[in-house]
């Protein structure tokens, strides 16, 4: 009601003013007539009427206020006035805007990433219903769970990423295929853009070869063909009919995949095999079913499965967790800490902002006092000051958004591995809203105290002071000192955090990977089942390829199932001859097949026994080399050489492998993870025909780049349909494995540096201000005999006290807060004394440096000038 009235009266504000004027004029005229009627003279009657009526202008003014829109007009005037002030003080304005832009920009950039990765719901139908659990499943498991969990899950499906080759283009291309079951599309609930997804009927052994492709694959390799449905493409030597194209932006939760085929069709042996848990499974809660209910159901199912299939399913523990939480689990702590860090940077920037406003408030005191004396209400004065601080904050925010857009591009380009699956990291409307809110909040919260104190003085008191020199503002200066101490404490916490990360990174970099990555290149190759179903064919190919590569001058070549640090492994339960273990209780070890002198090429030392040789082939007894971790964990105090082991799941006659050697440990997964027990056995002696993938590792005299085309030629001379496009040097792999840490460390160090700079600007400006405030005092001191050293001691002593308070609070903060980053540290305690001490020294140095210039200025105070000014 009031608002409508306000709006209407604003629309007819001129008419309103005329009405008011008219009725007040009438009132006065009637009043005059009243007095004349009582016999007063015309002139006296007018005077009397005006007296009765009071101040007509004031009454009109007050009436206008009642209409409400006066406030709007006032705000407009405040804004115009503020803008004029800024133009008149370009230096002040620039410093404030840059300070806030840095703070808000960093904040907005990290918020952008956080919003895209952690906050935005996953792009599936009702994503909150989706759950998954740690640990993979085999397809029989998925089918059993689906059959037994109907009261909690409405759908469930699974996917296993597998390389396939696509030979429709110029070079054979390795594509990332998803071997799926039909339930996967059902559980994610995203309809295809063209055609349809896999149906239950197709998803069976001997079903039709059908493929669903993703939008990028359709666009890049199928020419965005709208009539693609029903056409056939060749994948790993087999024709697949395209039945559907998924929409742009669709992806399965944890992998970047190009296309999807039925596991039953592409790999029926694996589909039927309960023992190999290689599929990621996703489940959809029925509406109204809680996570706890799903967990209880899964506990029952787990118990049943491990009872029915102890050899394969012992120790099952599927704990459903929300999918979003699961897929962002790895990035969550790092992103939270980075966001915390940018909030701290913003706080420090805001403290500078508040400090600058206070300083300006003091220098504008006279203006405020004059306005107050002329009847400006305190509310109006505070509002004027707040309007100005909000304008400044919004300008800073606008500049910050520009910075954030640029920074976000850099972050996405640096793309830490954990962010590879997150799409759409960009400044969107949510982010803009966030930045604007942050700016306004900054302007109001950090403008309020300065605005209040600027308008605080009693008029009479202030006027008396202002007629003399500007010695007021002691309240302002102590407020600013508190701000600066706070800034130092916050910067100290950030710097320590960055220091801890850097130290972790250095420690991690000095961890030996267990092999010599220099000049070693790996080329993953996947032999398609259509042409290499039998081990003998695989062995023939491998042997022929190695002999061709060995004939290249200077090249040492070998093969291994999975090279270190590529994030893959196959684990088997291992049975040791002469030791009994119940089915399902055998120790799990990593298993690798090798061919050629793998240990020699990688420079992995053989610490006991012998290396594998060419003689260890299909015509000779089965042998294996184990690593030191396995020797010490499974053969503690015993000599493993000559002992026999076999895979615990083997059916049929036992295939005992004799341990002939022990190799040095290799960090297979990452430098920060300890080496796990591992068994290396010859490819040629393996009976696992499904091990059709491997990496060729070649050591070259120097850079491998010019040899790569030759190596590819040799591969294609043997089989011209094999993709060999994923060439990666081991150095690069090592770098990739450190990428996330490098990313986190770099960013945090950057923010800490920013915090340090902002805090030192704060120290500098508050000390400069303090010196200028105390110029007269210093002048008097010098006049009565203090020398320059005393003055230096005075100023530096003040700075040192400030630094001591700030850094002391900072150390307390370090002990309170660095704990949260434990998960990001490597062999460094969150309260590492050396790091804290180093940070304190660094910060003390920076504070002293920031105070040096003001202190010099204080020393140069000329007592005569200072006193005459007084």
């Amino acid at each position: 009601m009031e608002f409508v009235h306000r709006l209407r009266s604003w629309l007819r504000r001129d008419a309103n003013a005329r009405d008011l004027e008219e009725e007040m004029r009438l009132h006065l005229e009637l009043k005059v007539q009243e007095h004349i009627a009582r016999g007063t003279s015309q002139k006296e009657a007018r005077r009397q009427a005006r007296l009765d009526f009071g101040n007509a202008n004031l009454a009109a003014e007050r009436s206008r206020e009642r209409w409400g829109y006066v406030q709007l007009e006032d705000i407009g005037r405040d804004i115009a006035y503020g803008l004029r002030q800024f133009v008149r003080n370009p230096g002040f304005t620039a410093i404030v805007v840059i300070t806030l832009a840095l703070g808000i920009g960093a904040n907005t950039a990290i918020f952008t990433v956080m919003n895209a990765v952690l906050l935005r719901p996953l792009p599936y139908t009702n994503p909150k219903e989706l759950v998954t659990w740690r640990g993979n499943e085999s397809l029989p498991d998925v089918e059993d769970i689906r059959a037994q969990s109907r009261e909690v899950f409405s759908a469930g499906g699974a996917v296993n990423p597998e390389p396939m080759d696509y030979t429709g283009g110029q070079e054979p291309l390795a594509v990332h295929a998803g071997y799926v079951d039909a339930g996967l599309f059902q559980v994610l609930g995203v309809p295809p853009m063209l055609g349809r997804t896999l149906s239950q009927d197709e998803d069976r052994k001997g079903g039709p070869s059908a493929v669903v492709v993703t939008y990028p694959f359709w666009r890049d390799h199928l020419g965005s063909d709208l009539n693609i449905l029903g056409k056939t493409i060749t994948l790993s030597g087999q024709g697949y009919t395209v039945i559907g194209v998924m929409p742009k932006g669709f992806g399965v939760p944890e992998f970047n995949l190009d296309l999807f085929v039925s596991l039953w069709v592409a790999y029926p042996e694996a589909a039927a095999y309960r023992g190999v848990h290689f599929m990621r499974s996703y489940w959809r809660l029925k509406p109204g079913v809680t996570l706890e209910q799903a967990r209880a159901t899964m506990t029952t199912i787990d118990a049943r499965l491990s009872q029915d299939y102890p050899a394969e399913e012992k120790g099952r523990n599927a704990v459903p967790v929300p999918l979003q939480e699961f897929v962002t689990g790895n990035v969550r702590p790092a992103l939270r800490i980075l966001f915390g860090a940018v909030c701290v940077v913003l706080l420090i920037a805001c403290a500078n902002f508040a400090g600058l406003l206070t300083a300006r408030g003091v220098s504008r005191r006279r203006e405020m006092v004059v306005r107050a004396a002329l009847g400006g209400k305190r509310f109006r004065l505070v509002r004027q000051a707040l309007t100005e601080s909000v304008i400044l904050a919004l300008s800073g925010g606008a500049a910050g958004i520009v910075l954030a857009v640029l920074a976000t591009r850099l972050i996405v380009a640096a793309k830490p591995a954990a962010l590879t699956h997150a799409t759409g990291i960009s400044v969107d409307s949510d982010v803009l809203l966030f930045a604007v809110l942050v700016s306004i909040l900054t302007g109001v919260v950090f403008g309020l105290a300065p605005a209040w104190s600027a308008s605080a003085a009693g008029v009479a008191d202030a006027l008396r002071h202002e007629t003399r020199t500007a010695t007021t503002g002691s309240a302002g200066i102590s407020f600013r000192k508190i701000l600066v101490a706070g800034q130092l404490a916050l910067a100290m916490i950030l710097l320590t955090g960055a220091g801890l990360l850097i130290k972790s990174f250095v420690r991690l970099n000095s961890v030996s990977p267990g092999f010599d990555p220099e000049h070693v290149t790996s080329i993953p190759i996947q032999l398609p089942e259509a042409r290499y179903a039998e081990i003998s064919k695989q062995t023939l190919f491998r042997r022929e390829l190695l002999s061709r590569l060995d004939s290249l001058s200077g090249v040492e070549a070998a093969m291994v199932g999975d090279v270190p640090l590529n994030g893959n492994e196959v684990t088997h339960g291992v049975a040791i001859e002469g030791r009994d273990a119940a089915a399902g209780d055998e120790p799990e070890v990593d298993t690798f097949c090798v061919m050629g002198d793998y240990f020699g090429v990688m420079r992995i030392p053989i610490v006991a026994g012998r290396n594998l040789t060419e003689m260890d082939n299909e015509n000779h007894p089965l042998v294996a080399v184990i690593n030191q971790a396995m020797a010490s964990q499974l053969f503690a105090g015993q000599n493993p050489i000559g002992r026999r082991i076999r895979w615990s799941h083997d059916a049929g006659p036992p295939r005992w492998m004799t341990i002939v050697g022990v190799a040095g440990n290799v960090r297979q997964f990452s430098l920060s993870e300890p080496p796990y027990p591992a068994v290396f056995s010859p490819f040629s002696q393996s009976d696992e025909a499904w091990r059709r993938w491997m990496s060729v590792v070649v050591r070259t005299p120097n850079d491998a780049a010019n040899l790569i085309p030759e190596i590819k030629r040799q591969i294609w001379a043997l089989d011209d349909r094999l993709p060999a496009d994923q060439v990666l040097s081991m150095d690069a792999l090592l770098g990739l494995s450190l990428r996330d840490r490098r990313f986190n460390t770099t960013l945090l160090a950057l923010f800490a540096g920013l915090a340090l700079i902002l805090a030192s600007v704060g120290v500098y400006s508050v000390m400069s201000y303090a010196v200028s405030q105390r110029a007269q005092e210093i002048g008097i001191r010098m006049a009565v005999g203090a020398n320059r050293r005393d003055v230096l001691r005075l100023i530096m002593g003040q700075s040192a006290r400030l630094a001591a308070i700030g850094l002391g609070a900072g150390i307390v903060g370090v002990f309170a807060f660095t704990r949260v980053m434990s998960s990001l540290l490597f062999e460094v305690a969150p309260t590492d004394p050396a790091t804290i001490a180093g940070t304190v020294i660094l910060m003390a140095g920076v504070v002293l440096a920031a105070c040096y210039a003001p202190a010099r200025r204080a020393m140069r105070v000329d007592p005569i000038v200072a006193l005459r000014y007084e």
Binding site: H5, L26, H27, A59, S63, W67
Partner: protein, 108 residues
């Protein structure tokens, strides 16, 4: 707002509403009426009626109508409407409560 007036603070609205509850009036008329009824006790700067009247308009308690006065002058007559009558009742109750309390305290 105009605390220098010998009027109990916050009572101006009440007086205006009461005056208008008898008949629609223009500003001058209201001033006359208040003086007459109160027996010249209230010393109101008559200009201050106008901001107060604007507030009543803004609150939606009264409406303004331009009409001819008995002397054929054009004037804005303020007329109490339902919301205003309700407000008047509420303020009367409130005033009597406060006033009664003050009286009790004084006479105690």
């Amino acid at each position: 707002m105009e605390s220098s007036k010998p009027l109990l603070p916050g009572t101006l609205d009440l007086l205006l509403l009461k005056a208008l509850s008898l008949e629609p009036m223009h500003g001058y008329g209201i001033a006359q009426r208040l003086r007459q009824i109160s027996g010249d006790v209230f010393q109101i700067e008559e200009g201050t009626l106008y901001p107060a009247l604007q507030k009543l308009l803004a609150k939606g308690w009264v409406v303004g109508e331009w009409k001819q006065t008995e002397n054929n002058r054009r004037a804005r007559f303020y007329k109490l409407i339902t919301a205003g009558r309700k407000q008047l009742r509420a303020e009367c109750v409130e005033f009597e409560k406060v006033f009664g309390a003050i009286v009790r305290v004084i006479e105690a």
